[in-house]
């Protein structure tokens, strides 16, 4: 299990390969990559604030929960903070298992919980100003899938 909270960019492909190589004996690897997108047009950059100390703890707890629920060979979470340009990777999750259903479910679960339970906040900066991204009701509702 690897949890990284970092300001610098990461290479999703390099991380996927390193993760798959470490997860020896796992036949199924699922990855999710989140990328900064310019939804409304005019995005200059995204600022991500987080709560150092709590962030790592919260993510580790979420990963531990996933490992209890599914049979995983390994799991990976990388999440960036600071200033991110459109098209840049924000975060990445990977889950390795002997069985594809476990790898898919665990990666999906990790994403749902990271969205709403890890202390990150996104702000979109355009020429008109800066706005905090509002939490979506959908994201909170998604957690009930795992009750």
């Amino acid at each position: 299990m690897q949890v990284r909270v970092q300001e610098g960019v990461f290479d999703a492909g390099v991380e996927l390969n390193a993760f798959s190589a470490r997860a020896e004996g796992a036949g199924a690897v699922v990855s999710f990559t989140g990328i900064v997108r310019d939804v409304a047009g005019g995005l200059q950059h995204m600022m991500i604030e987080h709560y150092p100390g709590m962030t790592e703890k919260a993510i580790s707890a979420i990963v531990a929960e996933a490992r209890e629920r599914w049979s995983l060979a390994d799991a990976l979470v990388i999440h960036r903070f600071g200033q991110l340009a459109p098209g840049a990777p924000i975060m990445m999750v990977a889950a390795a298992s002997a069985h594809r259903a476990d790898a898919f479910a665990a990666a999906d679960f990790l994403m749902d919980y990271l969205k709403s339970r890890a202390p990150f906040w996104k702000k979109e900066v355009t020429a008109e100003g800066a706005d905090w991204v509002a939490a979506k009701d959908d994201d909170e509702a998604a957690l009930t899938r795992w009750d």
Partner: protein
């Protein structure tokens, strides 16, 4: 105790953290004390249903007791991922 603010709560109150001496027994009591201080606190805490609180870096509730807690953090719902 240390009180921390994140995202728009931090911006509205105007600082990321401060030391607060309090006898408040619960988070709600601490919020009431802070709101009584100045308008910017009152504005930030006007609707606590739009806020989250963490006690010693673990998500908690506004009616949770503060006994033994060293770090309280207030912030809006998370938007990571």
């Amino acid at each position: 105790m240390d009180v921390m603010y994140f995202a728009w709560v931090r911006e509205r109150i105007g600082l990321p953290r401060e030391r607060v001496e309090t006898q408040a027994a619960t988070v709600n009591e601490l919020v009431a004390e802070l709101m009584a201080r100045e308008e910017r606190y009152a504005a930030a805490f006007a609707d606590t249903s739009a806020l989250r609180v963490a006690l010693d870096q673990v998500l908690s509730d506004f009616d949770a007791p503060l006994a033994g807690v060293r770090e309280v953090a207030f912030f809006p719902p998370m938007t990571g991922g």
